[in-house]
Every structure is written in structure tokens, then in C-alpha cells.
């Protein structure tokens, strides 16, 4: 009986000791990340059944358990991976947001300054300092384009680097998790008890992995975890880890993409499978924002160059030279090194498809009066050209997945781009066309123009001089030229009689006050029924006519090259107007829907600002979700030092009480011995 007393006392001391140990473990790990508080689970020993009843045999510790709930941990992980993704996305997009709107680094002030420079030439066409001012402001503008491009490229390179680093980290975590899995299996199989601290360690590894990429887990019967990414691609199966790769994309070697390592190499993961965590944030940012901003900035650079050059090309420089003549430079902006757009074949292509693309000429003001302005139909997007059997192909505009189909070789035009297919690709071959990727850095001020401001074609190429002896009130305007005009080879003298305008050596279109447009050749009648002549178009030059023919005799007008027309700024006025005209984003065959350069840029700033704001709002919301989930988990699994202090007292008391039992047993034994 007294042996029972001793053994019960000892069992109590043991249980209290274990309780104290568990408490101490909790106290010292109170600040260990991922630690789950532990406690002993005590149970009574099996009682001895006697005639007097079941005699209790003391206490034992069944196990040391973690105060743990798998679902709470999963909630934290899910929230954490979202927060990491949004945080990465937000940090990146915020940089663009600041860049675009910066009053010194943004495009807006440079664009405004450039057009102020243009206006100066329009006001003072013969003044060299004004022309120099235009060139300087144009150089500032191209520098600004280059600076923005450099920053975006830097970000793109940074993303490539971070993806590689993140993939390395994922691989390290996968190996560690596989290792911990093995140790858990061994530990639990040996003792039949949960490997609490290893389990914590694995949960923590999975939590940290979730900060890089979203993973899901399943538990095997032996206690090990399987870890999956994306839509179920295995990363860890029990004790074995798979590896992710970071390699240059098959479709576009300039970008690093995530893939799965296979025995033969790497299998690219579609970007929509890379979600959550830092990787998800980086990939989403690159696809949603970085590319679209770079494309929009590139499109602005391209459209500005093309429209401006087109109008400039219709002018005459200070030396009196026009398009087609030696020494005439019909462009302010040069696209260097090449106007051929970047087209990269997919590395997996088997055929010998040959595709080249260039920008189409901008849409020009139309005859008969050449009012309106140059504009482009460019869309800020990349394009994928995929071949199927028989030389059929599909061009996909990646910004909105709009598709154009065609077949065979030849030139196909879409969205302000002319693409020539020299040879078709094999079935399954594809090409990536990124028209705007390099445009912002490739636009420069034409070197020869930069060296000689006189070459800016500010004047119009033709002028009209009325005869000094004219007696009527008839007036013919100085003229506007359109694309494809032919300046008169020599002075072209028109003679106005009482009924006709004579002397045009070819076909013309006459326009009358009733709006009618009458094509013809030879003499132009000054009236058409009751309507009077208001203008005529000849060789893509348009002149307006007003006033009345001479009452008697003839009046003369000489249409000629604008020789020595140094104070003429008519063409400069036309290209200065491009600032306020709708020059960008036209839709083929549709009037309207276009924007000015500045409003296209403002839209970009707004779009990007909205995305940044959206990311911030989501990040804030997800952060509260995460905090909430962490609170809930902490509330169950976190260590409370006050509670542990109380537990220490509790187990101390239990220990003391159990010791007392031993003392009492001892005394009883002494009493028995003294009896003998």
C-alpha cells in the first residue's frame, strides 16, 4: 500500500516536471517566429481494481500537444501570400506612378516645352535663335523619352533579377521542406508522438514560401506534406523536392520566366499560373503595368515622330529646298538605329518564317482642301503572330486579344503597322512583335537638322503672287499642300478672265460656293450655275479663291515655288497645331476616337494612378485580413507570458504537493517500523 503511495507521488512529480518543462519551453520561445505553444496532456494511470473498488494509481503525461489549428494557419498563409503579392505589385507600380507625374522627370512638361519651341519658329520663321530653341526643346523631349525608357528598362531588368532570386529561394525552401518532411516522418514513426517543433518549423517554411509564391498542401498518411504551386504542379512530394527554373522566355528572350525543371530542360509555366507572393506580384506587374506603360510611352514617341515628320516633310527649309531635293531633311525625329520593328521568333519554331514589320505612314489630311491633320492608328500593344497549317496565321493584339487572320505571304496592315510576310512559318510556329518596346529610346533629333537649324522646313513650298497690274478683286490664297504634291517646276501663270481661270496644265478639282466639287481639266469656270468658285485643287495643292473677276481685260496670278520665302511660317503653324489636334489612336475608317498627345499621356497617368490606388486599397484590405488571421492564430497558438507564469506556479505547487506525498509515505513507513 505504501509502495502505491510512493509511485503515485513519483508519477505526480514526473507529470509536474514535464508540465514545468513545457512551460519553460513556452516562455523561452515566446518570441520564436512560428512557434506554437505546447502543453502537457495529463491522464490518470490505470486503476487497480480491488474488492474495495478501483484504486487510482496516479497520473501520467499522455503527450505534449501543440495548441494548433491547421485551418487558422492556412488562413494566415492565404492572406500572407496575397499581401506579399500586392505589396510587391504596389511597390513597383508606385515607382512608375511617381515617374510619370514627376514635374521634372515626367513627359508632360517636356511635351509642353517642345511645342512652345515650335511656336517660336512659327512666329519668327527667319530667326535662327528661334529655330535653335525648337531644336533644343526637341532634344530635351527625346532625352526625356530616353530617360523614362531607361527607368522602365531598369525596372524590367530588376524584375528579371528578382524573379531569378525568388526562384532560387523557392528551390531552397522546397529542399528544406522535403528535408523537414523526412525528419518528421522518422521522428513520429520512432516514438509515435508528434514532432511538435519540427511541425512548427515546417509550417513556418511553408508560410515563408507563401510569401514568394502561393502554394497549397496536402498531408500524407505518414505525416509528410505535399506542396503544390499554380494549378497543382508538384513542388514537394514527401521527402523529394522538385526544382523551379528561371529562364529566358521562348517567345521573348528579354524576359525571365518561371518554369518547372524537367529531365530535358525547363517547361515554362504560363504566367497566369504564377500567382501569389513576390513572384506573383512581379509577374502581374510586368504583364499588367510595366509592359503597357512602356508601350504607351513608346507609342507616343512613335506617333509624335511620324506625324511631326510627315507635316515637316511638306515644308520648305530656310534655304528654299523642298522634299525630293538634295539637302532637304524631311524629318525632325529620326528613328535609329532602325525603323524595322522588333520581331522575335519563338525559340521553339521549326519553320523558316520570315516576318518584318515597320510603321505605316500616318494618315494624311485628305484632298480637296487638305484640312485636318496627320494622325496614326497605332495601339499600345504587343502582337503575337501564330501560324497554323497551310500558311494560315492569326495576329493577336495582346492588350485586348483582338484577332486578325490571314494566309500566305504578302503585306498585311493593321493598327498603323505594315507587316511583310516573306515566308510563312510551320504549323505551331509563332512570332512576337513588340512595336513600341524600344521606340522611346530609339527616337532622336535628326543629326543634320540638329547641326543646322536652317534645315527646319517652316515655310510652305508654294506661294501665289498676284500680278501688280490686276484690276479685279479676285484673290487666290497662298496655298496648302497635301501628301504627294508636286511643286510647279517653274512659274505657273494663271489668267483670270471674266468667266474663267485659265492656265492650269492638267487635271484639277474645282470647289464652288454651293459645296460642289467638280473635277475637270483646262479652264476653270468661275461660276457653276449660281455658285461661285471658292477654291481649286491641283497636283495635291489647294488654293482658295475669293472676290470677283476683272470687269475688263485679264488679271494674272503666278503659282510658283516659294523662292526666298524666308519669313513664311505656314508649315510651322501646321506642325505647331499638332499639339492641340487629335493625332493618336485613330481607328481605321472611323472619324473620331482619337486623342492629342497630351491627353493620351494624361490617360496613361490616370490609368496608372487608378491601378496604383487600387493596389493600395487592396493591399490595405488584405493587410487587415492578414492581421485578423494572425490575431486569431496567435490567440490560440501564441504564448502569453502571464499565463505561463501562472502555469509555472501551478506546476510548482503540484510538484511540491507530490513531494509532500512522498514525505507522508516516508513518515507512514517510519511509523510502521517504529511499531516493530
Amino acid at each position: 500500500m505504501s509502495t502505491g503511495l510512493f509511485s503515485i507521488g513519483v508519477s505526480g512529480i514526473n507529470a509536474a516536471q514535464l508540465g514545468l518543462l513545457a512551460t519553460e519551453h513556452n516562455v523561452v520561445n515566446a518570441n520564436t517566429p512560428g512557434y506554437t505553444r505546447q502543453r502537457t496532456v495529463q491522464a490518470t494511470n490505470i486503476a487497480v481494481n480491488t474488492g474495495a473498488g478501483a484504486i487510482g494509481q496516479g497520473v501520467h503525461v499522455q503527450t505534449i500537444e501543440r495548441l494548433y489549428n491547421q485551418y487558422l494557419t492556412q488562413q494566415v498563409d492565404t492572406a500572407q501570400t496575397k499581401v506579399s503579392e500586392l505589396d510587391t505589385f504596389y511597390t513597383q507600380i508606385k515607382q512608375i506612378d511617381n515617374l510619370l507625374a514627376d514635374s521634372s522627370a515626367g513627359l508632360s512638361p517636356a511635351l509642353q516645352d517642345f511645342f512652345s519651341g515650335v511656336q517660336q519658329v512659327a512666329s519668327n520663321p527667319s530667326l535662327l535663335p528661334a529655330r535653335q530653341a525648337l531644336l533644343s526643346s526637341a532634344q530635351t523631349l527625346t532625352e526625356r523619352f530616353k530617360a523614362i525608357d531607361a527607368r522602365l528598362t531598369e525596372m524590367s531588368n530588376e524584375i528579371n533579377g528578382r524573379i531569378s532570386d525568388a526562384v532560387n529561394e523557392v528551390n531552397t525552401y522546397a529542399t528544406l521542406i522535403a528535408d523537414v518532411n523526412q525528419r518528421i516522418v522518422i521522428s513520429e514513426a520512432s516514438y509515435g508522438q508528434p514532432a511538435n517543433d519540427l511541425l512548427d518549423q515546417r509550417d513556418r517554411l511553408i508560410g515563408e514560401l507563401n510569401q514568394i509564391i502561393k502554394v497549397s498542401t496536402t498531408t500524407n498518411s505518414d505525416g509528410s506534406f505535399n506542396v503544390f504551386i499554380g494549378s497543382g504542379q508538384q513542388l514537394v512530394v514527401g521527402g523529394t523536392a522538385q526544382q523551379l527554373t528561371a529562364t529566358a522566355s521562348q517567345a521573348d528572350p528579354s524576359r525571365i520566366v518561371v518554369g518547372l525543371k524537367t529531365p530535358t530542360g525547363a517547361l515554362e509555366l504560363p504566367e497566369n499560373l504564377v500567382v501569389g507572393g513576390e513572384l506573383g506580384g512581379l509577374v502581374a506587374f510586368r504583364a499588367d503595368s510595366l509592359d503597357s506603360v512602356a508601350n504607351e510611352v513608346g507609342r507616343l514617341a512613335a506617333s509624335l515622330s511620324l506625324t511631326f515628320n510627315a507635316q515637316l516633310g511638306l515644308g520648305q527649309d530656310l534655304l528654299g529646298r523642298i522634299a525630293g531635293e538634295a539637302g532637304f531633311i524631311g524629318e525632325l525625329f529620326s528613328i535609329t538605329p532602325s525603323t524595322v520593328l522588333p520581331m522575335s521568333p519563338n525559340a521553339d519554331n521549326t519553320g523558316s518564317g520570315d516576318l518584318t514589320a515597320t510603321f505605316s505612314a500616318p494618315v494624311a489630311p485628305q484632298p480637296p482642301d487638305f484640312s485636318g491633320n496627320f494622325y496614326t492608328e497605332q495601339k499600345a500593344s504587343d502582337y503575337r503572330i501564330a501560324f497554323s497549317a497551310g500558311g494560315n496565321y492569326t495576329i493577336t493584339r495582346l492588350s485586348d486579344n483582338f484577332q486578325i487572320t490571314g494566309t500566305g505571304t504578302g503585306t498585311v496592315s493593321f493598327d498603323g503597322i505594315d507587316m511583310n510576310i516573306g515566308a510563312v512559318g510551320d504549323d505551331g510556329d509563332s512570332f512576337m512583335l513588340r512595336p513600341y518596346a524600344e521606340m522611346a529610346r530609339n527616337v532622336s533629333v535628326n543629326e543634320r537638322l540638329a547641326a543646322d537649324p536652317r534645315l527646319i522646313a517652316a515655310a510652305a513650298p508654294v506661294s501665289v503672287t498676284p500680278g501688280v497690274a490686276n484690276t479685279g478683286t479676285l484673290k487666290i490664297s497662298q496655298g496648302v499642300v497635301g501628301t504627294g504634291y508636286t511643286a510647279p517646276a517653274g512659274a505657273l501663270t494663271l489668267t483670270a478672265t471674266q468667266t474663267d481661270l485659265q492656265g492650269l496644265p492638267g487635271a484639277w478639282t474645282a470647289i464652288y460656293s454651293d459645296g460642289s466639287e467638280v473635277p475637270g481639266a483646262g479652264d476653270i469656270p468661275l461660276t457653276s450655275g449660281a455658285a461661285t468658285l471658292t477654291g481649286f485643287t491641283y497636283d495635291n495643292m489647294h488654293f482658295t479663291v475669293s472676290g470677283a473677276a476683272p470687269a475688263a481685260g485679264t488679271d494674272s496670278f503666278v503659282i510658283d515655288r516659294n523662292t526666298n520665302g524666308v519669313q513664311d511660317g505656314r508649315n510651322a503653324i501646321l506642325f505647331a497645331r499638332l499639339q492641340t489636334q487629335n493625332t493618336i489612336g485613330g481607328e481605321s475608317g472611323v472619324e473620331g476616337g482619337r486623342a492629342t498627345f497630351q491627353s493620351a499621356y494624361a490617360t496613361l497617368v490616370a490609368d496608372n494612378g487608378i491601378r496604383t490606388r487600387e493596389a493600395k486599397v487592396q493591399l490595405d484590405a488584405q493587410t487587415s485580413v492578414l492581421q485578423q488571421a494572425q490575431m486569431t492564430r496567435e490567440s490560440l497558438s501564441g504564448v502569453n507570458l502571464d499565463e505561463e507564469a501562472a502555469n509555472m506556479l501551478k506546476y510548482q505547487r503540484a510538484y511540491q504537493a507530490s513531494s509532500k506525498i512522498l514525505e507522508i509515505g516516508n513518515k507512514l513507513f517510519d511509523t510502521l517500523l517504529s511499531l516493530g
Binding site: 511645342f115 506661294s463 484690276t471 524666308v566 492629342t596 504564448v639 507564469a645
Partner: protein, 318 residues
């Protein structure tokens, strides 16, 4: 609810960090005076601000152009005023010369003066601006437009003109509003060569032709006989020249007037753009300052409560 010790510390620091960030932002707003620090703060507002500042910039450009146009037209007008003065004197002298009591010698003296007047008229027609450009040459402003033609013979008319014009029919224009270009010059044909009557019909003689005809009629040495009819015609021409020039000046004056009203409009617009920009971008200081003190108070409260809570521990008492 059970609370873990690290929760107490975490929530304390998170709270302090959040307050600090808000305080920092408000402080930044106050130091820059801008409500929108980056487009993220108000994407639509930021984009509108860009558009408004472009409109403002364009408007300022038009204001500059209006100023340019005004000074060009002013120079033109003062030159034209000089021409008009010259023509007035010529007309007075011509009337004087018609005095029946004048002898040919007396008329010859007037002719001598008129010759000087003709020269100064030609000089005026060849006026150059501050940059050396000929004001009345049309686009060809780097070549002297008016030259005496020694080959022409009396009587002079546009078909046989005393002073030839080698400029062209161009007029400089300036864009002074999105929809309006204004002509800032007059070419030599319109001012000097084609003297037009009120109906706009050409008299067939340039100012120089008329004046030279008058000189020849008055000058006994010219070999052109003085007849009442020829004199009367020449006098009419001189009168027509004055009338024509007034028309030209009136047209220049009308342009200056319309520039003035455009400048007034553009200045109003400038003010409106400025106001709009300020509404979009500028900070409401009262609001921001009261926000700043509120955040300061909150931060102090969080810090204090954190200090108090973090000191509570059972271990301290044991």
C-alpha cells in the same frame, strides 16, 4: 479572447507605424503645398491637372503670340502712319502747285520737293525691322522689295511702272487662338502697288507711279507738258492713295483691336486655368493643419498606451 504577449507588442508597433506614416504624409503635403503628391492620391484629378496645365500652357503660348502679333502690327502701323504723313504732304504740295498763278519755275520747285518725298516714300516702302527683314516684301523679306525702274517711261502705270516690286503676295500669319490665325504683315502689292478705290477696284497706278507722274507734270525739265487734265488726274491719284492707305491702316487697326479683345479673353482663361489647377492640386491648409494635430495626438496616445501596456507583466510581481 485570449491574447498572446507578442500580439500586445505587435499591435502596439503597427498602430504607431500607421500613425507615423499618416503624419509623414500630411507633413509632406504641408511642406509641398500639394494635395496630390502622386497620381495615386487622386488619379482623375492628377490627369485633369495635366490636361489643364497643357491648356494653360497653350493659352500662354497664344498670349505670347498675341503679344508678338501686336508688336508686329504696331510697327507696321507706325510705318504706315509715316507713309500716310508723307502722302498728306505730297497731296498738299500738289494742291498748292495747282495754283493758277504759279509759274513753271515755281511748280518746278515743288517738283523738286516731291522728288525728295518720292525717295523717302520708297525708303519707307523698303523699311526693315529690328532683325533686318523688309517689312513690305511678303515672304521674301530678305530681299529689298522696291527698286526704281529706269527703263519705264512717262506716263507711268502698273503696266509700265516707275518702281518695281520684287517681293511676293505673302502675308505673315500667327496662330493667336486654337481656331484663329491673324495676319501680322501687309505685302507691298496691297499697300503700295495696287491702290484701290472704295469699291476695291485698282486705279491702275502705284503710289510711286502717281507721284512720279505728278513730278513729271510739274517739273518743266521733264519734258512732260503741264495740262490741267493731266494735273487733275495726278491729283485724284494722290487723293486715292491717301484713301487707300487709310483703308489699309483701318484693317491693321481692326486686327490690333481684335487682338486686344483676344488678349483679354486669353488672360481671363489663364486665370480660370490657374484657379482650376489650384483647385485640383493645391492643399487646403486649414484642413491639413487640423489633420496634423489630430494625428499628432493619436500618435502620442498610441505611444503612451503602448508604454503602459508593455510594462504589465505577472513576472514583475512574482
Amino acid at each position: 479572447m485570449r491574447v498572446s504577449t507578442s500580439q500586445i507588442f505587435n499591435s502596439g508597433t503597427v498602430g504607431i507605424q500607421n500613425r507615423q506614416f499618416e503624419l509623414f504624409r500630411t507633413q509632406q503635403q504641408l511642406s509641398t503645398g500639394r494635395r496630390i503628391l502622386s497620381p495615386e492620391d487622386d488619379p482623375i484629378g492628377a490627369s485633369q491637372a495635366l490636361q489643364v496645365s497643357q491648356s494653360k500652357g497653350v493659352n500662354e503660348q497664344f498670349l505670347d503670340n498675341i503679344g508678338d502679333a501686336n508688336s508686329k502690327l504696331n510697327l507696321l502701323d507706325s510705318t504706315l502712319a509715316g507713309v500716310e504723313d508723307e502722302l498728306q504732304v505730297v497731296y498738299e504740295r500738289a494742291v498748292q502747285a495747282g495754283n493758277a498763278s504759279y509759274s513753271p519755275a515755281q511748280r518746278g520747285m515743288i517738283a523738286e520737293e516731291l522728288k525728295q518725298r518720292l525717295n523717302s516714300l520708297i525708303n519707307l516702302a523698303n523699311t526693315q525691322d529690328a532683325t533686318g527683314l523688309y517689312v513690305f516684301a511678303g515672304f521674301k523679306s530678305s530681299t529689298e522689295p522696291f527698286q526704281v525702274n529706269p527703263a519705264a517711261t512717262s506716263p507711268y502705270s502698273l503696266g509700265n511702272t516707275r518702281v518695281t516690286y520684287s517681293g511676293d503676295g505673302g502675308n505673315e500669319v500667327l496662330q493667336v487662338s486654337t481656331s484663329r490665325v491673324i495676319s501680322t504683315s501687309e505685302n507691298g502689292i496691297d499697300v503700295f502697288m495696287q491702290v484701290r478705290d472704295e469699291q476695291g477696284n485698282s486705279t491702275g497706278r502705284s503710289m510711286f507711279d502717281s507721284l512720279q507722274n505728278m513730278i513729271d507734270i510739274l517739273d518743266p525739265a521733264s519734258g512732260v507738258p503741264y495740262t490741267a487734265a493731266a494735273y487733275g488726274q495726278a491729283l485724284d491719284d494722290a487723293g486715292a492713295a491717301i484713301a487707300h492707305l487709310s483703308t489699309v491702316r483701318a484693317s491693321v487697326g481692326a486686327r490690333m483691336q481684335s487682338l486686344d479683345s483676344m488678349a483679354a479673353t486669353a488672360e481671363d482663361s489663364d486665370y480660370l486655368y490657374e484657379t482650376r489647377l489650384s483647385q485640383l492640386q493645391d492643399l487646403d491648409y486649414t484642413d491639413a493643419i487640423s489633420q496634423l494635430s489630430r494625428l499628432q495626438l493619436q500618435l502620442e496616445a498610441s505611444q503612451l498606451s503602448f508604454k503602459q501596456t508593455s510594462q504589465l507583466s505577472l513576472f514583475n510581481i512574482l
